[in-house]
């Protein structure tokens, strides 16, 4: 009764284990073939030695194991070459490896960071001192990160959404659309340090003197929250464009047509139907962009003036702050790390931990906010 293919079943599972697999693996593998499995079990009912450790059950359900209960002798896996089977294992291992790395980052920073985070430092400004106990806290960098993130995304969001709408809903003439797409790609691919040095050249021009501090002689400093924010917006822009466009294209054509069929023109369709329909995508783009802005260092170092404290320029309430210089958590970490000038590694760890918390919180908050609103289109 045992056919050659059935003999290949290397480890026929015992009946008890089969039952547990059947229940546990139901979700992963939909089809079960009770008939064939029964044949395989009865034809060579030798239960090969027990468990190989705590992950035995897990491994049994892993796709490369041929003895799972719905094993089909003609399944394609049987025909897989050694390379393919190794590739599958490697892919599996790579996924696990990434989880380990992510957990390590969070855990390490949690341990090192929590060790050094002091509430007093969260609420006090940094002070110029070589002694770590005298050099104050990092309130200003926290504020700097928040200001810069908000400023950057406030600039990037409308421009990015506008570009995405044009690309997705108009996109004519075609060559222009392709040019815009390439431009977005180029901006996305430019290293932030290159954007930063480019920004420095631009904003030191006298035309942009209103954006930053000017010396008495007329020389423009070219470094301020405005300047850094503008370049940060460029970093976030491709992410906003990408996910907004994706969301717009996920809206089926008949939804647009339903709006046209009510006698609406394109403008109201975009404003009242498509943009609300794409808000989840817009939110995702914004959160990704904010994450990038909060985490960028090069632009801060070059374009924010690298003063530890916020230093407003002029007297106007908000404008002076944005025209002034400051620092962010990233530049603070850089400066205080053993590689930087400050050399206060404890504070660097603490600040890095705070930065990580801000970014993670941001991602989760926006994800939770938009997922609730994500429409489920019937295509």
């Amino acid at each position: 009764m045992a056919t050659p293919t059935e003999k290949k079943t290397r480890k026929p599972p015992s009946k008890a284990r089969k039952r547990s697999q059947q229940t546990s693996s139901k979700t992963k593998r939909g089809k079960t073939r009770p008939g064939k499995a029964a044949v395989a079990a009865s034809s060579n009912g030798i239960a090969v030695g027990g468990h190989n450790g705590p992950f035995e059950d897990l491994l049994d359900r892993a796709p490369w194991r041929e003895n799972s209960d719905d094993f089909d002798p003609h399944a394609e896996r049987e025909a897989w070459s050694l390379m393919d089977r190794m590739g599958l294992r490697l892919a599996w291992a790579a996924g696990i490896f990434l989880c380990v790395v992510a957990a390590a980052i969070v855990l390490y920073l949690l341990v090192r960071g929590l060790q050094f985070v002091k509430i007093s430092e969260l609420t006090s400004s940094p002070l110029p001192s070589l002694d770590q106990s005298q050099s104050g806290g990092y309130l200003d960098p926290i504020l700097g990160t928040l200001i810069l993130t908000v400023l950057g995304i406030v600039i990037a969001l409308p421009i990015g959404v506008a570009i995405a709408v044009w690309l997705s809903e108009y996109g004519r003439p075609k060559p222009l659309a392709r040019a815009v797409e390439s431009a977005v790609e180029i901006v996305a691919g430019t290293p932030s340090i290159v954007l930063a040095i480019f920004g420095l050249i631009i904003f030191q021009g006298s035309f942009f003197s209103f954006l930053s501090f000017s010396a008495d002689g007329g020389a423009v400093f070219g470094r301020s929250f405005f300047c850094a924010g503008a370049m940060m917006a460029l970093i976030a822009l491709p992410l906003v464009v990408g996910s907004t466009r994706e969301a717009l294209q996920a809206i089926p054509a008949h939804v647009r047509e339903a709006s046209y069929a009510l006698g609406k023109d394109r403008a109201s369709t975009i404003r009242r139907v498509l943009l609300p329909g794409a808000r989840a995508g817009i939110g995702t783009g914004a959160s990704l962009g904010m994450g990038r802005i909060a985490g960028d260092t090069a632009i801060v170092v070059l374009l924010l003036g690298a003063t530890l404290e916020l230093q407003p320029v002029g007297n106007a309430p908000v404008f002076s702050l944005l025209k002034g210089t400051g620092s962010t958590l990233t530049s603070y970490v850089y400066n205080n790390s053993p590689a930087g000038e400050g050399n206060a590694p404890e504070k660097a760890y603490a600040a890095a931990f705070v930065l990580l918390l801000i970014v993670i919180f941001l991602n989760f908050a926006i994800a939770a906010l938009v997922r609730r609103k994500e429409p489920e289109w019937r295509s």
Binding site: A258, L262, G263
Partner: protein, 300 residues
């Protein structure tokens, strides 16, 4: 707000346009299965005076030179439901989409022939005006990603420069929902997102959304193909209820549905209008062989 209350314009038409002469063809003996497809409708269908609303004269649509609809002439009348039947790809949906010029959304589409709305060429009408008069419901329920209330109000809003408030709009929204037999189910949660409704409710919402702009003609493109039998029955009831108020054209793959809801049936095949007549004519005494084969299930 009076503007919203204005009833659709009714134009008088000469009575001789009312019905096409029956095609003089050799009346072949009734097909072998004719007995099985006779009209069986459990719903009452009161006789309503039918008034022509739309007509197409020799309408042809081609996509990039490839013809999809050839020279179709049909009348669409208030007071009766016109069903378009035919196998997939025969041009039913294209024909339907041409009636509110939605085909022109496709850049490659070209049109020949005339489409008249109330005796006036639709090319002379403003596109948005035409589409308000000729509403459409799609195969897939497609409410907008907003509340039930806003879905209905969307069509009414922004007609003028002044934006009517919610309080002003409410009676219109409720009326539209009521006409679509949906008000009872949703009246307590008008502010809930429309995409949370069931498929059948969504489709009735889409009908209500079309009704809110007071159309003269309602185009239904296989409105039940994504729905379960109960929701289908609800939609069919609704169609029968509305037929006295507005002209309805329904595209359907389901011949039983055509028999249940339609007064007149047009059979299309490969872009041609093969046969058109009352339900009894088309299903029980089809004149053309193609029609006979199709309604008896020999092909299609």
């Amino acid at each position: 707000m009076e503007k919203l209350n204005t009833p659709p314009p009714v134009r008088r038409i000469s009575p001789d346009k009312k019905s096409k002469p029956a095609k003089p063809s050799s009346t072949t003996a009734a097909s072998k299965r004719n007995g099985k497809v006779s009209v069986k409708t459990g719903r009452s269908r009161p006789k309503v005076e039918s008034i022509e609303r739309m007509r197409t004269v020799d309408l042809g649509i081609a996509y990039g030179g490839k013809s999809a609809v050839n020279g179709v002439s049909l009348q669409i009348k208030k007071g009766e439901v016109l069903a378009l039947i035919g196998p997939s790809g025969c041009g039913k949906t294209t024909y339907l989409r041409s009636l509110n010029l939605l085909v022109e959304q496709t850049p490659t589409a070209t049109r020949t022939g005339k489409i008249m709305l109330d005796g006036e060429d639709v090319d002379k009408l403003e596109l948005t005006e035409l589409r308000r008069k000729v509403g459409m419901v799609f195969q897939q329920p497609n409410p907008f990603p907003m509340s039930i209330f806003d879905n209905i109000a969307y069509g009414i809003r922004e007609r003028g420069s002044r934006k009517p408030t919610r309080r002003v709009l409410k009676p219109f929204v409720e009326e539209a929902l009521d006409r679509a037999n949906l008000l009872e189910e949703v009246k307590d949660n008008l502010s809930h997102p429309a995409l949370r409704l069931s498929g059948g409710q969504q489709q009735r919402l889409c009908i209500a959304r079309s009704l809110a702009v007071e159309p003269e003609v309602l185009l239904l493109d296989e409105p039940c193909s994504a729905l379960d039998p109960r929701s289908t029955a609800a939609i069919e009831d609704l169609v029968l209820k509305l037929r006295s108020e507005i002209a309805i054209v329904i595209v359907t793959h389901n011949m039983q549905q055509a028999q249940r809801v339609a007064d007149r049936v047009a059979f299309m095949y490969l872009g041609d209008l093969v046969e058109e007549g009352t339900v009894t004519q088309v299903f029980d005494k089809p004149q053309q062989k193609r029609t006979r084969d199709y309604v008896s299930g020999d092909f299609g």
